[in-house]
């Protein structure tokens, strides 16, 4: 369970590092990196913070992960979840945060 941070995209703002409930993300030379990848809970707080979508979440192979990378993009009240599969297929799920779950 962990995240991948694209060092080329990262602007070093530190928001992912600040919000991580395990304080697992550190900054070095103005780039964020996950210092303790095995300690990630998978809460996705960091990917929701990143203003440039440099932080992506994936499932570990030990729990059936197949390599998709996930990030979110916010448009007003809509939180878009973007799941990119290794074969290039992209799935987008849009959630209006002003609407409740049906379940």
């Amino acid at each position: 369970m962990s995240i991948a941070i694209d060092a080329e995209k990262c602007i070093g703002c530190g928001r992912c590092s600040e919000v991580c409930p395990g304080s697992l993300i550190k900054l070095e030379s103005k780039r964020a990196y996950i210092k303790y990848p095995k300690d990630c809970w998978g809460c996705t707080s960091c990917i929701k913070e990143c203003p440039v979508h440099a932080v992506k979440f994936y499932l570990g192979a030990d729990i059936g992960g197949m390599g998709s990378l996930v990030h979110t993009e916010k448009e007003g009240n809509i939180l878009n979840w973007i799941i990119e599969a290794p074969d290039g297929k992209v799935t987008k799920i849009s959630i209006n945060q002003k609407e409740s779950n049906k379940y």
Binding site: G22, S100, Y103
Partner: protein, 559 residues
């Protein structure tokens, strides 16, 4: 380490659900200076980081707070505090209204009434529930939040709290904090047992892996009385992602079935422990794996589930998408998690009075760290935060700030600095954590033994945990963050010892799986229709059996 002394009126340890709400209530009801110390950042710390997609504790139309008490009492086979459950239940609806006012989206019908899910639940969009709470707290003038400060010990003198010690996990500053009252809201304890997936995804657990039982451990070491640690919590979860199953069970009415397609719920019962036990037994007897039967649900239901899980446990949605098989075309495999100690689901935690004061004067407990009051969920934790806050505000009117001696400060500082300065070429906190989890898994009823244990195994568990405790004295930390890891390990070891003592003390099996004692496989109401409590005295755990607080009565400390 640099040192700093801080003085406040009320110190809140842990800025999660209960802690944040306690601060809101204090700001409204007193002029007290409030300090929240949070080891991460209150924006997403605690149980609600990823969100939550229902409020599971609400008094719906046609029901009363007493109905909720009765439900929780039955689920826990009587070992609850009715007085605590009732005072919590009476506040469930007002804290819900407050959450909505703060910005939480709750589903309503065309008449503006909340839409309920079952008898006790409301449907919400709770992805941002924690940022909503933290924004509210950050706007309060009398409340200071210190993020990335890990509290390690209380300062207690003559059973009265004087404050606490801690350090900045980035800065390495050592803090001595004097307070008139302290509210401990550190949550429960995960990571005691070997988790479902102990490798790369070792932290893909249900309960927050960062809730390490700090509040329990500090209380135990300071001599506070604890209750019902033996009622462990084991969650029934979606396999691999360890995502909640309630959304499937209640949302689309998915039933538990075995690999033969048989619904086995009826054979074991539907309390939480019975659901876990049934699943374990079906597997042991060769009818596994077990599933929640979702095949055949509609495409609209698929879509609603994908969204509901993104708002709470996103891994499950990602798993559905990656596998190419949505729940309508594939049943969802389920399994039990490793055991946790968590007073928001079962009844483990501080032994408190109806005001949530612990047996240490001026120390109040709220949320998962407080015992006797299971099935709290989010709203119950808020309710307890409110009760503890009001009681603490009252307490400080008559009690001046405690003072912490320089001698005590020096000794705590020396302990912390010792870990930073001593060298250890052999063992790391990580190795010892693994050793602890292996011991608990093998000898104290972990996943490996299908949650079962006997007395001989518990004796071995205790012996081995003590040995790991001794090894932990010699650990080395490279930096303040690693120092926190060492303290967290030591907290878990302390909790393990109390847990083992509690499991040993209850000579019966009242709850399958949660406390399945093979030496005493039956329920024994004659001797154990009571609370098992404990106090640490001179390093040894003393067990106290207490009579159940009777219906309609309220327990108050006699100190």
């Amino acid at each position: 380490m640099k040192t700093e002394r801080i003085s406040t009126d009320i110190l809140i340890i842990g800025g999660g659900t209960a802690g944040c709400y306690a601060a809101l209530i204090l700001a409204e009801n007193s002029d007290a200076r409030v300090l929240i110390c949070e080891k991460a950042n209150i924006k997403r710390s605690g149980c609600l980081a990823a969100g939550v997609n229902a409020l599971n504790a609400y008094i719906t139309d046609g029901h009363t707070p007493q109905d909720y008490v009765d439900y929780a009492r039955k689920d826990a086979e009587d070992i609850v505090r009715g007085d605590l459950l009732l005072t919590m239940s009476e506040r469930l609806n007002s804290v819900t209204a407050r959450l909505e006012k703060l910005g939480l989206v709750i589903l309503k019908d065309e008449n503006g009434k909340y839409v309920t899910r079952g008898n006790r639940n409301l449907k919400i969009n709770g992805e941002n529930i924690k940022p909503i709470l933290s924004d509210a707290v950050n706007s309060l003038p009398n409340v200071t939040v210190m993020n990335r400060v890990n509290i390690t010990d209380f300062s207690v003198e003559n059973h009265r709290i004087n404050g606490a010690f801690g350090f900045g996990i980035d800065s390495g500053v050592f803090y001595t904090i004097e307070a008139k009252a302290v509210i401990v809201a550190t949550g429960g304890a995960a990571g005691l047992y070997k988790p479902n997936n102990p490798g790369f995804s070792r932290h893909k657990m249900w309960y927050p892996p960062f809730n390490t039982g700090a509040g329990y451990a500090m209380g135990i070491r300071a001599g506070a009385e604890m209750t019902t640690f033996e009622m462990r919590f084991i969650a029934l979860r979606c396999k691999d992602t360890i995502a909640p199953t309630g959304t499937l069970a209640q949302g689309v009415h998915a039933k538990q079935i075995n690999s033969l397609g048989e619904n086995y719920e009826g054979e074991y019962g539907i309390t939480i422990s019975q659901r876990v036990y049934g699943t374990v037994t079906e597997n042991v007897e060769g009818r596994g794996p077990c599933y929640l039967k979702t095949e055949g649900i509609t495409p609209e239901q698929d879509e609603a589930l994908l969204k509901a899980y993104l708002n709470m446990a996103p891994s499950q949605t990602i798993k559905w998408i990656e596998s190419g098989k949505l729940p309508s075309s594939q049943n969802v495999e389920i399994e039990g998690t490793e055991p946790y100690i968590v007073g928001g689901h079962t009844a483990s935690g501080y032994w408190v009075d109806s005001k949530r004061e612990t047996t240490i004067h001026g120390l109040f407990a709220a949320g998962d760290v407080a015992g006797g009051c299971p099935q709290k969920y989010v709203t119950g934790a808020l309710a307890e935060g409110e009760i503890a806050a009001l009681a603490a505000a009252e307490y400080i009117k008559n009690n001046a700030s405690g003072s912490i001696s320089e001698l005590e400060e020096k000794s705590r500082l020396a302990e912390a600095e010792g870990f930073l300065s001593q060298k250890n070429e052999q063992f790391t906190y990580e190795q010892l954590e693994e050793a602890m989890q292996t011991v608990m898994d093998s000898y104290a009823g972990g996943i490996k033994t299908n949650y079962r244990f006997n007395e001989k195994q518990l004796d071995l568990a205790d012996e081995k945990i003590v040995r790991i405790q001794q090894l932990s004295d010699k650990l080395h930390a490279d930096d303040p963050h690693e120092l926190m890891f060492i303290y967290e390990l030591r907290e878990r070891l302390t909790v393990c010892r109390s847990l083992i003592a509690h499991l040993k003390a209850r000579h019966e099996t009242r709850w399958h799986s949660f406390a399945e004692n093979l030496d005493y496989p039956d329920r024994n109401d004659k001797d154990f229709h009571c609370y098992v409590n404990s106090v640490m005295e001179n390093g040894e755990i003393k067990i106290i059996l207490r009579e159940l607080v009777k219906e309609g009565q309220s327990y108050e400390h006699s100190h």
